[in-house]
Symmetry: C2
Subunit: 493 residues, 2 copies
Amino acid sequence: MSAGTTSYRPRDGAPLGTVADSTTEEVAAAVAAAQGAAATLADTSPARRRAWLDALADALVAHRDELAELADRETALGLPRLRGEVERMAAQIRFYGEVAAEGAYLGVVRDSAPGLVRVNHPVGPVAVFGASNFPFGFGVLGNDTASALAAGCPVVAKAHPAHSLTCVRLQETAAAVLAEAGAPAGTFGMVSGLTAGTELVRSPGITAVGFTGSQAGGLALWRIANEREVVIPVYAEMGTVNPVVLTPAGAAARAAEVAAGYVASFTLGSGQFCTKPGLLLAPAGAGFADAVGEALTAAAPQPVMLTQGIAEAARTGVDALVDAGAEVVATAPGSGQGWSTDAVVLRAPIAAIDAGSRLVEECFGPVALVVEYASARELREVLGRLQGSLAGAVFTDGTPTDADAAWLVPALAGQVGRVTVDEWPTGVAWTWAQQHGGPWPATSRPESTSVGAAALDRWVRPVAYQGVAEEWLPAAGRAANPWGVPQRVDGVR
Amino acid sequence: MSAGTTSYRPRDGAPLGTVADSTTEEVAAAVAAAQGAAATLADTSPARRRAWLDALADALVAHRDELAELADRETALGLPRLRGEVERMAAQIRFYGEVAAEGAYLGVVRDSAPGLVRVNHPVGPVAVFGASNFPFGFGVLGNDTASALAAGCPVVAKAHPAHSLTCVRLQETAAAVLAEAGAPAGTFGMVSGLTAGTELVRSPGITAVGFTGSQAGGLALWRIANEREVVIPVYAEMGTVNPVVLTPAGAAARAAEVAAGYVASFTLGSGQFCTKPGLLLAPAGAGFADAVGEALTAAAPQPVMLTQGIAEAARTGVDALVDAGAEVVATAPGSGQGWSTDAVVLRAPIAAIDAGSRLVEECFGPVALVVEYASARELREVLGRLQGSLAGAVFTDGTPTDADAAWLVPALAGQVGRVTVDEWPTGVAWTWAQQHGGPWPATSRPESTSVGAAALDRWVRPVAYQGVAEEWLPAAGRAANPWGVPQRVDGVR
């Protein structure tokens, strides 16, 4: 008898089906298949891999409504959002193919004296642990998988227990489409179950790990990888508090608008975003916490969480914030059905904000804090006490004359991976300039990004060739440049 | 009474002087000074930092002979080599300044929709642990320090006990020249002593670590960094066996030339190179091991090692190789004076070569192995059993028709950071295309290099700015491009 992962309907808690946990033999077989595909993927031109990815994107869009309906049953994230997310997943897959075909990620550099040619090579089979909260955008075919395939690495994903039926459907679709498009067997595989995930990271054939999720989960995989005979990198993108600062001029100009925007941002997707703004610093005396409370009451979201565990963690998270010195300002009660929870805004005294406090950590769910600062000096000090975050935001009076933004933008840049001004950080575009990652503990590799063109850089490793005849160089590095990729020659690009 | 590190003359073991170990307070002060300089360095244009580095290079060249004489007393590496190494250190420092001024390391990317600008920022104060074997090229002002300063990071180096008097002289020179050139106080500092080194890595103000040396030393720092509250990256470049393959055609065409070259390469600098070729795979039946033995006897080097501990480790290393199944082919005895050791070539049966064996690890010193393979298949199998290495070499018959090179080059590329053909790997050029690093355990971060233009990439972290007015962007990211750096705009570079 083999154990399995049961999927539930969050709106009422009804079981939807069970996916069998992968056995040790199945994990080994998935890794072996990926290893078998690695050399072919690496030798295939990025333009050809792009064609495979485009075929995959086409198939996913063709199955959009069916995928969204299945995922909605498992996640309660809503059909409009999930249909859009399927489109996003497909667009991301196309984008990473485009980035690969452009070829800058290969980092080709040629020096005449001495005769040296540097080329980035795919690292080999990558293990991908997708997120609970984005079954498509950050799921088994999300940013990590798409960027790894684009960079020439086979992928073995682990199905997420919050939407394992959707994962299975995605895996079946990808396997069929990639085979049809001509990709070798083993290009994309999947395993299921907690033990299988651990075995995957321990497998000698796995060369790197991508993870999106909680700090506890990401750091657990990072520790396992660090205990291997051959240590491998774990690119873990983990949840953070993502601070927002409202400047005095911003508060004077449009406190109500920012309060409503804060509520919309921290309750979006039931607050289940790694970029959810969880802490807003507002000038004292403007009554901003009460304004957020009123906005929350007026909006009255009825959040349903992805899993029973996540719903419980949101409730106990509020208790922990109160224990750490916060008080509840307002609550918008959930429906009480299935895995519903309350949306809550709290207020905390600025003296309670410290690096070791629960107040500076993510509380996953529709829960957020307001903290008031009395002066720019106090604001600067409290920012220095926060942990690293994925994103940080400044809300100004909307003009470039807001003098506080001039120092807040670089101050936040020292602590986060993305700084937004007068925009909520919740949305993450997949473009050339994107950076989705941040100082520890936002990311286990703060120099990396899991979204945007540079996401490919995680899956390659440079090799220099010295005195090597053109015939024996990899295609990307040859003077004849058969793949037409950017090459820096003798220092000039 | 404070402890200290005594420097000795390797040629006769006489003490030369003692450098006091830094106290806990001195370590904290050095880190605080670096933190105080960090913002100024980051805001200074790369062109200005280049001018500081050029001034430093000028001063080092001006003191070349005096520095080489001091280092020769401490290291016995010889005046010609050490004078050349001072020139190399200065040239590297100029090169990293040039790379910084060119600006590609800033990775600037601008997207119009959404309005996103991505810029790499210096990470902050860097701790540098230089190598025993290159007091200048990889010392306290070597590749790690020069690339970090070029990238805009202050450096706190740890003096190396194998040449601590030279380290002190270099630190004094750098402090004076950098201050004179206008760099802020704290741009470069130094501490001394084992405990001080540990405290440095544990200091919350340190944001990254560069290390060159043994696996034991590098992994110890890596573990300490992984135990911090805020984990930081350790870029440890560690010693490896660096395999060389002689093809059948190469053996037929010029076995004696390759045998002599092997001896010259593995005894260079008394074999104290991290790129020393420590294992040569030759076709069976060509008598290659005996040819190497004859070449060693003819060359008769009289190696003197950097320290007593290194000399002892070379001797016990030979014993360990014998215990692991190797037998001594020939020995060139050392002088017996001071920290001399014997140069030794050994032969081992191919069946003894395995990932867990001492035979596939570095033996630091003038010690090398020859292993014979019976067929291309056996050769391919044994390559798969080696650990990752910094470099690997193929020696052919010197023509691009040597069919074995066609598969050996990519096979070695999968296991090393640099592949050379018909060139010994011992020399490492500091150019745009260089890659000095390799798969674990060659480097704790196999995607990084400690030499070459990409060395700067270790000391920066990307930040994306979303919806941020031009006035508030960092200079490098502005549309007006005041620093004149490469910018990718809407995907086009």
